[in-house]
């Protein structure tokens, strides 16, 4: 690493002042903003801090294991549950009736349980000393306990945990088994709190976690998340940011962890849990029912400008609509029931079907997706210099490290969008500058200079540089991470070089995202794997902003669909034609027979056409979504396989390219 350069020349060594001096200084001007000190940490200071971080590591490891055990406990109870439908006890299967057990409805899951299998608890009223009695089935009462004991109640989602080793024979990256489970099977936090945040905050009964919204001043928090290991991560980042390490290595976690005690296997697994902070909501424990993602793309975008960080909290609410789920036991496809928290199914990772040698790459690697909205999204190194003579700010996007993976192979195609944020919190330029895309890497070397002209010297003080990194893809650019870098240290003469951790979405990243143009419009698609009919259900909901093709400034759009490869029938479908509109609404459903296993190797081709009578139809746009998609598309595909019998809905951008296949 060569970012030493931003710091002082030899003369400026930090000398530890005597205790007395320090005490005096504290008396006089105190610690607050006495100085703009940016002295790098001395080696002994670094060592001290690192030793604390290591001590903490041990605690974190133990914590992850403890939480893993808590989760497993609930899972075991869930596994033993009979789930025989509304007329018998969810747990023991006893049927209800006049002479038989009385039916008790669990407060949380609203399922029927018998008295033996439930507990009553007293809940407090806040306004008075009264309490009220409620009944919970054993699963839900255990879940509440687990929610408390793990700290999930506070972080509004389960912290990372390591599955107990018994179920964890091969903690590898390759398959969705073992230790990585926790990350894989929990509803991805990204899906809940990023783009698909339900707009209406479905504040729900019972376990609603109360949010005080005194957050008006928090516009630029770095995404959500909390607890657990990220602290370590963050701290290490901070150490790196402050102190150019003597080890001269890339500022990633590994430079510290490399020689920390746990054996390689666990380390790998831990690496996962660091990287892949996904959060489950308590809802997923209580209610394995509907998890319909809201579809209001635009409303959502708007609201995210004002309450981007609050949404994180609001959306992690609990069971709202409790629809009884089909009895999954009846389905007998390639699923194995895992001790998964979300009580969803996981695909047995084996791909014995005689594919090419690199099959493993093709099995979607769940671990590496769902990465939005974690707090540590990698690193960005920039070098900024100002030329007063021409009032130009030259920003070199040097490189980024450890960006989130966006495709099944664990790669990303990143580029940066850059703007200046003025002291009053507005972007200075309406047009964002962007770098070229660096393909297929999570560690891009951009080395590209973006020049902002018309920057007055006095502007530098209060302004910052905002860099948002996106994944370049035909069907939508997924946000990878962003950073706001204060420009006050930038001076006329020398280059200011800094390495910063990337954070989650905020209103600037949203602005950068919205500045993208999608000339071909968007499409709303809802996917569901129906286990009864053993089919992928595709609901084509609507399109917006399609291109006008006809002389009247409009089009007559319809949508064609095909799933490939399709061993069954090679079925093709199309929707009806919507005449004279650029924003057609279809809401038509199509069934493609398939197995979850096959879906892991299939791709859905969606094309939009303008119906022309008498001549050939005009192509309007396309969307390809499947196992080898990226970002949000891949996410939706995997969600659909992971959580069958639920609709997973997302907006996608249409590409102007006809998919060649």
């Amino acid at each position: 690493m060569d970012f030493q350069s931003h710091n002082n020349t030899s003369g400026n060594k930090f000398v530890c002042p005597s205790d007395r001096q320090l005490a005096l200084r504290a008396k006089l001007r105190a610690g607050w903003s006495s100085s703009k000190t940016n002295e790098p940490l001395r080696p002994d200071e670094q060592a001290a801090i690192i030793s604390v971080i290591r001590r903490n590591e041990e605690i974190e490891t133990a914590e992850r294991q403890r939480v893993g055990r808590l989760v497993e406990r609930v899972e075991k109870i869930k596994q033993r549950a009979v789930e025989g439908g509304p007329n018998c006890c969810r747990l023991c299967g006893d049927t209800f009736g006049l002479l038989r057990s009385t039916r008790i409805i669990c407060e949380d899951c609203k399922k029927s349980v018998c008295a033996k299998c439930s507990v009553d608890i007293n809940i407090r009223y806040h306004t008075s000393d009264r309490t009220r009695e409620i009944w919970l089935c054993r699963i839900c009462s255990e879940t509440r306990e687990m929610w408390k004991k793990s700290g999930a109640w506070f972080f509004k989602g389960l912290p990372n945990y390591d599955a107990p080793s018994s179920t964890n024979s091969t903690p590898t990256h390759q398959s969705a088994s073992g230790g990585a489970m926790s990350d894989v099977l929990l509803p991805p936090r990204g899906a809940q709190s990023c783009n698909n945040t339900p707009t209406r905050n479905v504040r729900v009964k019972k376990l609603t976690i109360h949010v005080d919204d005194s957050s008006s001043s928090e516009e630029d928090t770095n995404g959500g998340g909390g607890g657990g290991g990220d602290v370590v991560d963050g701290a290490i980042s901070a150490v790196c940011a402050v102190a150019p390490l003597t080890t001269a290595r890339t500022p990633n976690r590994n430079s510290f962890n490399a020689d920390v005690s746990p054996p390689a296997a666990t380390r790998m697994q831990r690496e996962d849990s660091f990287r892949l902070r996904t959060f489950g909501s308590i809802r997923s424990f209580i209610d394995s029912g509907e998890r319909k993602l809201s579809n209001s793309f635009f409303a959502n975008r708007q609201s995210s400008r004002t309450e981007s960080n609050q949404q994180d909290y609001d959306t992690i609410s609990t069971a709202s609509t409790v629809t009884s789920v089909n009895n999954r036991r009846e389905s007998n496809c390639n699923y194995t029931r895992r001790s998964s928290v979300s009580s969803s199914w996981s695909i047995s990772g084996e791909s014995s079907s005689g594919n090419s040698a690199n099959t493993s790459n093709h099995v979607p690697n769940h671990n590496q997706v769902n990465l939005h909205c974690r707090e540590l999204l990698g690193w960005l190194e920039v070098a900024v210099s100002y030329r007063e003579s021409v009032h130009s700010l030259d920003c070199v996007m040097v490189r980024a490290r450890d960006l989130p993976a966006m495709d099944a192979a664990g790669l990303t195609d990143p580029y940066c969008k850059v703007n200046i944020v003025t002291p009053d919190g507005m972007t200075k330029y309406s047009r964002w500058l962007r770098t070229k895309t660096v393909h297929k890497t999570r560690n891009p070397e951009f080395n590209e200079t973006l020049q902002f002209v018309g920057v007055e010297p006095e502007e530098l003080g209060g302004s910052s540089l905002y860099v948002a990194i996106f994944d370049d893809d035909k069907y939508g650019h997924d946000y990878l991470g962003g950073a706001k870098i204060s420009l006050s240290p930038v001076h006329n003469t020398n280059q200011y070089r800094i390495s910063v951790p990337l954070g989650g979405e905020d209103r600037f990243s949203n602005e950068a995202e919205m500045s993208q143009e999608w000339p071909h419009g968007k499409i709303l698609i809802s996917l569901c794997y129906n286990t009864k009919r053993r089919a992928l259900v595709v609901n084509v909901k609507q399109c917006i902003n399609l291109i006008p093709m006809d002389n009247n400034g409009s089009s007559d759009p319809f949508v064609k669909l095909q799933l490939k490869p399709d061993s069954h029938k090679n079925k093709k479908y199309k929707t009806g034609v919507k005449w004279r509109t650029l924003n057609p609404i279809y809401r038509e459903e199509f069934y493609f027979e398939s197995s979850p296993h096959d879906l892991n190797k299939q791709t859905l081709y969606i094309t939009v056409w303008d119906k022309d009578i008498g001549k050939s139809n005009d192509f309007l746009g396309s969307l390809v979504i499947g196992y080898n998609s990226k970002g949000e598309r891949l996410q939706q595909w995997l969600d659909c396989i992971k959580l069958p019998d639920h609709f997973h809905e997302k907006w996608h951008c249409l590409s102007g390219e006809h998919p060649t296949h």
Binding site: T37, K148, G151, G503
Partner: protein
């Protein structure tokens, strides 16, 4: 930076026999007595020598509260600004904050608002805060009256204690109170009457100041 090889913390740290784990953070200007406060609580020791904390440190202590065992991981942060990037990285994981000033040091009191901004910027949304005026044993040098401290706490909507790490005044009480507040929040979030959640609560969340300072001081 004591505590590293100390067998006592190791015993506590390794102790897996507990129900809840709370992470607490002590913040405040340099020399207000954060480290002394923690040492008093965890080791029942005090020294008048001042060794300014380097970056961060923590101690672990398991306490009983309402027949539950609560393991506390208490982070002691450096007040000096040069460590700010490191210390703020730990805000995210903290359920509770002890925000400390020194009753003999006006500046440390004036900084409270800035620390509050740091909490709001970096901490998890529902973290609980207690304001603490330390060194109350030094009556002759006191510059911040109890009343001023209490008023500020009221304004911020947090609870308030005056303490002395030296004379062991209120040290335990502060931790116990913070643990209680967090426990309350926990049961509120899970076992409370749903219709009332979200209505006016006497929580320890920082209330927003009307003059809300924009927090442009993110220096990352």
């Amino acid at each position: 930076m004591a505590g590293g090889g100390d067998p006592k913390w190791q015993k506590d740290a390794a102790d897996q026999n507990f129900d809840y784990m709370f992470k607490l953070l002590i913040i405040g200007n340099s020399s207000v007595g954060k480290t002394s406060f923690l040492f008093r609580y965890a080791d029942d020791s005090f020294t008048s020598a001042f060794v300014s904390t380097v970056g961060i440190d923590f101690k672990v202590k398991t306490v009983f509260r309402h027949d539950k065992r609560v393991k506390l991981q208490i982070w002691d942060t450096a007040g000096q600004e040069r460590y700010r990037t490191i210390t703020t990285a730990y805000y995210r994981g903290a359920m509770g904050f002890i925000l400390m000033y020194d009753v003999t040091n006006e500046e440390s009191f004036n900084s409270v608002q800035d620390w509050v901004t740091q909490i709001k910027t970096y901490s998890w949304d529902n973290a609980q805060v207690i304001l603490v005026g330390n060194k109350c044993d030094m009556e002759d040098q006191r510059v911040i009256s109890f009343e001023r401290g209490r008023q500020l706490a009221d304004q911020l909507g947090v609870e308030f204690f005056e303490t002395s790490a030296k004379e062991n005044v209120n040290v335990k009480a502060v931790f116990e109170r913070l643990v209680d507040i967090i426990c309350d929040k926990m049961s509120e979030s899970l076992d409370s009457d749903p219709t009332l959640v979200g209505a006016g609560q006497k929580g320890q969340r920082l209330t927003d100041q009307p003059q809300g300072t924009p927090n442009a001081n993110c220096n990352c």
